[in-house]
Amino acid sequence: MSREQKRLPAGEPLLPTWLHEFVLPLVAGGDVRVSRVFGAVELRRLEDEAFTMESDERALALAEARQEVMAELLIDPAPPALDDEAIRLALAVQTMLFFGHPAATAATVRKSRLREVAAWTQEQLAALMPAEGPTQLAARHSILHHLFDLGRDDVRVSFWAGRREFRGQEPPARLLAWQRVRRVREERWRTSIVGEALGDPLARGLLDALLVASPLTDLLSPTRTEPPLDLARLAPHLANAAIARAVCDRWLTLGLGEVGGPLVGALFRLYDQRGQRAAARTATALACHLVLLWLFARPTAPDPVRVASEMQVLGATRPGLRDLFGLFVAAQRFDLGAPPDLARDARLRAPLDACLKACRQIVGPERITEIEGAIARGVDAPLKLAAQA
């Protein structure tokens, strides 16, 4: 019997407990309990148990929770199966969370051992096949949709002789006893898991690997500071109408003012990359499509005067949004700004013209020219002098 087999409870299935304590709270919300990492042996057991498990209550609850998440993105999705992809994604999250566990910094844990764990987990994520189709993207996202709002409640207990900090753990009662005599003071705060992972090279690597494995999770959180949005990798998925629709819905829900800055920044980074012509065109068209949706998706027909005043306010309060407006104007020269059939409807053309006019006033011709140059570099299309005429 090997060492790792001694450590695992031999007769007891591993998957139900793991689902109950970790995966289901990770998807549906609640307390995500972390105490250890899984290696190859545990992964194999989990995959085997998932394959043979039938009508388990926890598995059904997890499938329903994932289906609810997917239903917000797709029309009538089927309950996703607990397949190898889902298990590996959840396992990778568990490993990333373990790097923030107090035990990871214990004297009994070597750094090299932790690097080994991280490398192996990234290998497992890299081994996943590229996601294809909205259903697979949504299924992967259903595991990771809490990734960016995952948090941990930390406690710091100060007393007369010193202080102790508990990360994701409750302090023992003995430490809180005799509060007045021992001058006990409690401080509680919530720590963002992603924010903490960005400061740890091992966890950062896992976070990047998770976002690569689940592009939709990456796309649906554009307002984060780090890691930056990589449209070169994500743009191919935006060509899918269902995914583009879900992404636009999410971005408009967040607000054009919030999304505009990070989106334009990602677009400019994309334009500087070589060989990303198709991605640049797709991403540019999606950004313009987002502006058009903001313009037309109203309960009543957009009033040109009101639209212009709204844009003036947004441009004044959100400097990053001005570049998006400028990009919207500049993209018109590359036939990426609006669908060709939009001009046929006079009711849509009038607000669009008012919007373009307001954009030019807000951004200014010099900045528009600069953006036109960037787009031309990105989409690899020379500026047409005839367009100016």
Binding site: S2, R3, E4, Q5, K6, R7, L8, P25, L26, A28, G29, G30, D31, V32, R33, V34, S35, R36, V37, F38, G39, A40, V41, R44, E68, V69, A71, E72, L97, F98, G100, H101, P102, A103, A104, A106, T108, V109, R113, L114, E116, V117, W120, H146, D149, L150, G151, R152, D153, R167, G168, Q169, I193
Partner: protein, 505 residues
């Protein structure tokens, strides 16, 4: 010798003087020196005409003084409260050749004039014997006090002056003759009163005594006092010509001055001199002042006129007992009226229960603004609808009008006998908090409490009950956004013990 007072000068040779707020040298007292009584009286006459004597009377002293040359002069000393008061007194005294001084005690220095606006100060005090030392720029002289002349004595000892002309300016106005006094000898009192009573002149009378004098053969004088109201001109002229009758006009509260005369001083300004409990009668013809110890109690004139009473004229009064009057009851009848005035605005209608369904249907056709003014009460006789602005929109039931506020009678009917609204309201026991309804053919009026009424729209509509519904499970509820929180559980001592990147061999 005197020297001019400079601005901001603080040290003076004259004792008891100091600059006031304006810088004018002022002592505690001011002194006016008059060379004769006429000038003294003239000064007070002008003063009384311009202002009240109250400003001076507080500490006013009038001394008859004698100079070393044996000349008799009058020195008026009063409290110099302000330089404004002394300025006024100096101006008036100058009109009668009087000199003005200021100081305190014995030494008085010349008051300021145009040559020295801030006053004068003495260079050296005089050491002459005397009660007063006056320092003027032309002389410095001491005076000895001969006697004091009280101001009230000045008032009472001055003779009244005859006014030229008829009634004189004091009675030119009608208001001046509203109240006059007749001072008559006791023997003429009854005749004068009878004359006044016959001529219907309102009058009150009293007999007053001036009190006994110190003389052996002079007894107390009695005077008949008659206060008359609105004395006609002919009587005024008549009484002025009747010997023994004097017509007086009231001056102030307790002074009378004979008509046709005036006191040298303006008595209204000298009110402080007169005792409030006494009555002062200034007679010009007699050249005397009668002081009555107290205001005599005045009696209406007609009570003092006797017409002869006989105690045997009538028998003893007969005792009578009171009895309750016989009650007269007249029943009110509601009768049709042909008078045009009986047709008033229709403000209520009594809809029988048989027509209640019609009312309900009609309500849907009426505008809500009209319905808002209607109120309805359900009674045994039917639905009684009231509209303060009229119920013209409801052509149903028996129409009613208001015979009195809150009292309704059928349209075109009235009460016989016709009683006033107040009597009708009183007879039905009041309408506070209720309406009174007279129904044709009914035995008596109906009283409907205000609480019975409610808005017509609410009443007419049937109550709607909402049936509760539960959520249909076919539409699943939206996903609850539950945050995920990482909880680090207790890890083993060797947490990575057993981790392997290879599957078991």
């Amino acid at each position: 010798m005197l020297e001019h007072v400079a601005l901001n000068q603080t040290r003076f040779n004259t004792p008891g003087v100091a600059p006031d707020n304006r810088g004018v040298l002022l002592g505690k007292q001011a002194a006016l020196l008059f060379s004769s009584v006429d000038r003294l009286v003239g000064f007070f006459r002008v003063w009384c005409e311009e202002s009240s004597m109250d400003d001076l009377l507080a500490k006013l002293k009038i001394h008859q003084v004698r100079s070393p040359l044996e000349t008799r002069e009058h020195l008026v000393i009063f409290h110099a409260t302000t330089s404004y008061l002394v300025d006024r007194a100096a101006r008036m005294a100058a009109m009668f050749g009087g000199l003005t001084f200021t100081g305190s005690g014995k030494h008085f220095v010349k008051y300021r004039d145009n040559a020295s606006p801030l006053g004068y100060d003495v260079t050296q005090l005089a050491a002459d014997a005397g009660d007063f030392a006056l320092y003027h720029d032309t002389f410095s002289q001491s005076y000895t006090r001969v006697k004091d002349v009280p101001f009230d004595q000045l008032v009472f000892r001055l003779s009244l002056r005859h006014l030229p002309g008829g009634l004189g300016p004091e009675l030119s106005e009608r208001a001046d003759r509203e109240v006059l006094w007749l001072i008559v000898r006791p023997g003429l009192l009854r005749s004068v009163l009878t004359y006044l009573w016959r001529n219907r002149v309102r009058a009150e009378a009293a007999v007053a005594s001036t009190g006994a004098t110190a003389g052996t053969f002079t007894g107390a004088r009695e005077l008949g006092l008659i206060r008359v109201h609105d004395l006609p001109d002919r009587m005024l002229d008549l009484f002025r010509q009747v010997p023994g009758v004097e017509v007086h006009r009231p001056v102030g509260d307790n002074c009378t001055v004979q008509v046709g005369f005036r006191h040298p001083l303006r008595l209204e300004a000298c009110a402080a001199v007169f005792d409030k409990d006494k009555l002062y009668v200034f007679s010009g013809e007699r050249d005397a002042v009668d002081v009555l110890a107290s205001m005599p109690p005045l009696v209406p004139a007609h009570d003092l006129i006797g017409s002869g009473f006989d105690l045997g004229e009538r028998p003893e009064p007969r005792p009578l007992t009171a009895a309750a009057p016989e009650q007269i009851q007249i029943s009110l009848k509601l009768v049709p009226s042909t008078a045009e005035s009986a047709h008033r605005r229709v403000t209520a209608t009594l809809i029988p229960w048989s027509q209640a369904a019609w009312l309900k249907r009609l309500i849907y056709a009426l505008p809500p603004t009209l319905l808002a003014t209607y109120r309805v009460a359900a009674i045994a006789e039917g639905l009684f609808v009231i509209g303060e602005q009229g119920v013209d929109g409801l052509p149903l039931g028996a129409l009613y009008q208001e015979a009195a506020p809150s009292i309704y009678v059928p349209l075109g009917h009235e009460f016989l006998p016709r009683v006033s609204q107040a009597v009708l309201t009183d007879q039905v026991g009041g309408t506070s908090g209720r309406y009174i309804l007279f129904v044709l053919g009914g035995e008596g009026p109906l009283a409907l409490e205000h609480a019975l009424f409610e808005p017509l729209g609410r009443r007419a509509l049937a109550r709607l009950t909402a049936e509760p519904r539960e959520r249909d499970p076919r539409l699943e509820p939206a996903r609850a956004a539950t945050p995920a929180t990482v909880v680090n559980e207790e890890a083993p001592a060797f947490p990575l013990w057993g981790f392997t990147t290879k599957e078991s061999t």
